[in-house]
C-alpha cells in the first residue's frame, strides 16, 4: 500500500496536543454519518494542522443526520460548517429491506431505490438551501456478496440496486453546484471490504470503517478542503533523469535512457501520461533539471516515446545552476506563487535542499522504485478543484500563447508599442450562473493584483448576486494571440444613494500591466456617473503579496481619506486608448 498511514490512535492523541496558535487559513467542517465514525474529525484536524490550516469540526451524534439537517435550530446550523460531509452506508439506508429484497418484486425494489434517492437528495438540498455551504455526500458501497449467489446479475439484487442508486445519485446531482458526491464505493474498492469491514467492530460498535482506514478516508475528504481554501497546487515542476525517464541522458545517451513500451521504460511512459492528463485538466508544467540543455532538449523534442512535449511546458530550466535559483525563475516566469508548486525529484539531496531553501514548495522525493511513481501521484489530493472552469481546460494553451507574447515583447523595444500590438479587448459582463464558479475561483486564488483579497465561495457570490445593492462583474481579456478567458472580477456595493463601494477589484497576474485595470476602472466610473452617483469609495488592504496593487488607486486619481480612497465622479478619467472595452 502506498503511502503508509499512521494509526488512528496516533491521530486521536495528536488532536489533543495541537498547540499552534496562528494558522494560515481556517475552516469549519461538519461530519454527519449513519454509523460510528469517531476519530475521523480528529484525524482531519491533525492533517489540516500539518498544512497550516486551523480546522474546527462538528460531529453529530450517532446516526442523527436526518434530524440535524431537517431541524433549522440544530447544533449543526448553529455551528455553520463551510463544508458538511455526510457519510452513509447501504445497510442504514435500506434498513430492514437490506439483504431480504427477495420478498419484493423487481418493480417494488426499483421503487425503493427511487424513494431512498429522493430522501438523500432532499436532505442535501435542504442543507444547501439553508446555508451558504457545500455538502459532500458519500455514495453507497456495494457488498461483495449476494444472497442471490451466482445469479445476482440475472436478478435485480442488492448490488444492482446500489449500482443504480449510485448512478442516479450522480446524474441527479451533476448540476448542483454546492453538492458533491464522494465515491465511497471506490474507497471500498481500493482498500477492500475484507480489510475495511471488520465483523466484530461492526457488531459491537457499528464501526463500518475500521479504525486504521479512517486516516485514509480523512485524506480523501481533505481533497475537498484544500481547493475550498485555495490550497490546491497549480503547477508541477519536474526533474528529468530518473524522473521522466529511467537513467541519465548525459551518461546513458539518447538511446540508452529507459523510455518506451518495454519495461522499465513503460513505467515512465505511464507516469508521463498521468501528468499529461493533469495538464489537460489545467495543471501547469515546468522543468527544473541539472543537465546539458542540448542533450535534454533532444530527448524532449525527438524521442518518440516522450509523452510530454515541449509545448506542454510553460517554463524550462535546464542548466547547471542550482535548482533553487531555477525554481525561483520558473515561479517568476509563470507568474505563480511558490506555494502553488509541487516539485518532483528522485534525488534525496536535491529534495532536502529544496525543502530547506523553499519550504513553500511542496517537494516530493520520488521513491527508489519507479513503479511507485504513478501510485504516488495518483494518491495526491493536491490537484483537486471544486469545478473545472473553461479557463482551466484552456490553461495549457494560454501559457503557450503567453510564451509567444513574451517573444513579441522581446522583439518590441517600446512597451507602449508592444501593448498596442497586442490589440487587447476587454469584455465586461454582469456575473451569471456560468461565470460564478470562475469569479469565486479568482477571489480565492488571486493574490498579487487584488485590492482587498476577500475570498468568496460560490455560494456567497450567488447570494450577493441576489442582492440588488450589489454589482458583480466578470472581466474577459482577449488579444491577438488568443483568449485569456475570465481573468478579472469586481464586486461593487451601493452604500447609499450617492456612494459606491468597491468591495473587490482583482485581476489575474497573467494580464497585469497591460492597462486592463485602468480600462475596468473607467467602466466603473462611467457606470457610477450614469447611475447619478457622486462618490466611489475604494479600499486597499495590504497583504504579503498584493504590493503590485499598492499604487493603483493613487494612479487612478483616488484621494486617500482615512482608511479609504475616494474618487469624485465629476473628475475626468480617461480610458486607456490601447484597450478596447466591450460592455455586455
Amino acid at each position: 500500500m502506498y503511502p503508509n498511514e499512521k494509526s488512528l490512535s496516533y491521530y486521536i492523541r495528536e488532536a489533543k496536543n495541537l498547540k499552534k496558535i496562528e494558522y494560515g487559513k481556517k475552516i469549519k467542517i461538519g461530519i454527519l454519518s449513519s454509523f460510528t465514525i469517531t476519530g475521523l474529525a480528529e484525524t482531519i484536524k491533525v492533517k489540516c494542522d500539518k498544512v497550516n490550516v486551523n480546522c474546527c469540526t462538528y460531529v453529530s451524534g450517532y446516526n442523527q443526520y436526518n434530524q440535524e439537517i431537517l431541524n433549522s435550530n440544530s447544533n449543526l446550523y448553529q455551528f455553520k460548517p463551510e463544508i458538511l460531509f455526510l457519510v452513509i452506508d447501504s445497510k442504514n439506508i435500506f434498513k430492514d429491506d437490506y439483504e431480504v429484497f427477495y420478498t419484493k418484486n423487481i418493480d417494488e425494489r426499483k421503487k425503493i431505490v427511487e424513494e431512498k434517492l429522493d430522501e438523500i437528495i432532499n436532505l442535501a438540498k435542504i442543507f444547501v438551501n439553508k446555508t451558504n455551504s457545500k455538502i459532500v455526500i458519500s455514495n453507497l458501497s456495494i457488498p461483495s456478496y449476494s444472497s442471490f449467489g451466482i445469479l445476482e446479475n440475472k436478478d435485480y439484487g442488492i448490488s444492482q440496486m446500489i449500482l443504480e442508486f449510485n448512478q442516479k445519485l450522480n446524474a441527479r446531482l451533476k448540476n448542483e453546484p454546492s453538492i458533491y458526491v464522494y465515491d465511497l464505493l471506490q474507497f471500498f474498492y481500493r482498500f477492500g471490504e475484507q480489510n475495511i469491514a471488520e465483523p466484530h467492530k461492526i457488531a459491537i460498535g457499528d464501526i463500518k470503517i475500521t479504525f486504521d482506514y479512517l486516516p485514509y478516508l480523512a485524506e480523501e475528504l481533505i481533497g475537498y478542503i484544500k481547493p475550498y481554501l485555495g490550497l490546491n497546487k497549480k503547477c508541477i515542476v519536474l526533474d528529468l533523469d530518473n524522473t521522466l525517464w529511467g537513467g541519465i541522458v548525459g551518461e546513458d545517451g539518447f538511446n540508452g535512457i529507459k523510455l518506451g513500451p518495454e519495461p522499465p521504460g513503460n513505467i515512465f511512459m505511464d507516469f508521463q501520461r498521468w501528468i499529461l492528463a493533469l495538464h489537460h485538466r489545467g495543471i501547469i508544467l515546468a522543468i527544473n533539471s541539472k543537465n546539458n540543455l542540448d542533450d535534454a532538449m533532444k530527448v524532449i523534442r525527438e524521442h518518440k516515446h516522450m509523452i510530454l512535449k515541449e509545448e506542454h511546458f510553460a517554463a524550462i530550466q535546464i542548466n547547471w545552476i542550482d535548482k533553487i535559483q531555477n525554481m525561483k525563475e520558473i515561479a517568476e516566469e509563470i507568474n505563480i506563487g511558490l506555494d502553488s508548486i509541487v516539485f518532483f525529484d528522485d534525488d534525496p539531496r536535491n529534495c532536502e535542499i529544496m525543502k530547506t531553501a523553499l519550504p513553500e514548495v511542496l517537494t516530493i522525493n520520488l521513491p527508489k522504485d519507479p513503479s511507485l511513481y504513478l501510485p504516488l501521484i495518483q494518491n495526491m489530493n493536491d490537484f483537486n478543484v471544486l469545478k473545472i472552469t473553461n479557463e482551466d481546460k484552456k490553461r495549457g494553451q494560454m501559457y503557450y500563447q503567453q510564451k509567444q507574447r513574451s517573444e513579441l515583447k522581446n522583439e518590441t523595444v517600446n512597451l507602449e508599442k508592444y501593448l498596442e500590438k497586442l490589440e487587447t479587448k476587454v469584455t465586461i459582463k454582469n456575473a451569471d450562473q456560468v461565470t460564478i464558479p470562475r469569479i469565486s475561483q479568482l477571489t480565492m486564488k488571486t493574490n498579487q493584483f487584488n485590492l482587498t483579497t476577500k475570498r468568496y465561495s460560490e455560494e456567497e457570490i450567488r447570494h450577493m448576486m441576489n442582492d440588488s445593492q450589489m454589482k458583480i462583474i466578470s472581466v474577459q481579456v482577449e488579444d491577438k494571440f488568443g483568449d485569456n478567458g475570465i481573468t478579472g472580477a469586481c464586486i461593487i456595493k451601493l452604500k447609499n444613494k450617492k456612494e459606491w463601494y468597491i468591495d473587490t477589484f482583482l485581476l489575474s497576474c497573467r494580464v497585469i500591466g497591460r492597462e486592463i485595470e485602468r480600462a475596468i476602472m473607467s467602466f466603473i466610473i462611467n457606470e457610477a456617473r450614469e447611475r447619478g452617483l457622486e462618490t466611489i469609495i475604494a479600499e486597499f488592504i495590504p497583504t504579503k503579496k498584493n504590493s503590485p496593487t499598492e499604487n493603483f488607486l493613487d494612479k487612478c486619481g483616488f484621494k486617500k481619506e482615512g482608511e479609504f480612497w475616494i474618487f469624485n465622479t465629476s473628475k475626468e478619467f480617461k480610458k486607456p486608448s490601447i484597450v478596447s472595452l466591450i460592455v455586455k
Binding site: S7, L8, S9, I12, R13, K16, T36, T38, G39, H200, K201, A203, I204, G205, I207, T210, F211, D212
Partner: protein, 79 residues
Amino acid sequence: MSEKLFSLISRILEVSKAQLSEESTPESIENWDSYNGLLLVDELESEFNVKFSVEEVFDVHSIADIKRHLRNHGVILND
C-alpha cells in the same frame, strides 16, 4: 511483556502507568469508555498479533481480564 501491555493501555487510555493495575476497570479509569475500549482491542490485536472474538471483547471488565484473554491466545506475559 506486561510492561508492553501497560505501556499500550497507558497510551490509549491516557493515564499514567502508575495509575494502572490489574484491578483497573472501565469504572475506575475515566477514558475507558466503550469507544476507547474498542480502540484498545484494536491496538492489542495488532501489537500482540491476535484476534479477539466478540465474546472475549464483552468479557473484559478489568486489565486482569485482558491479560487472561491474551494468555488464552498464547501470548506470554511475565509478571
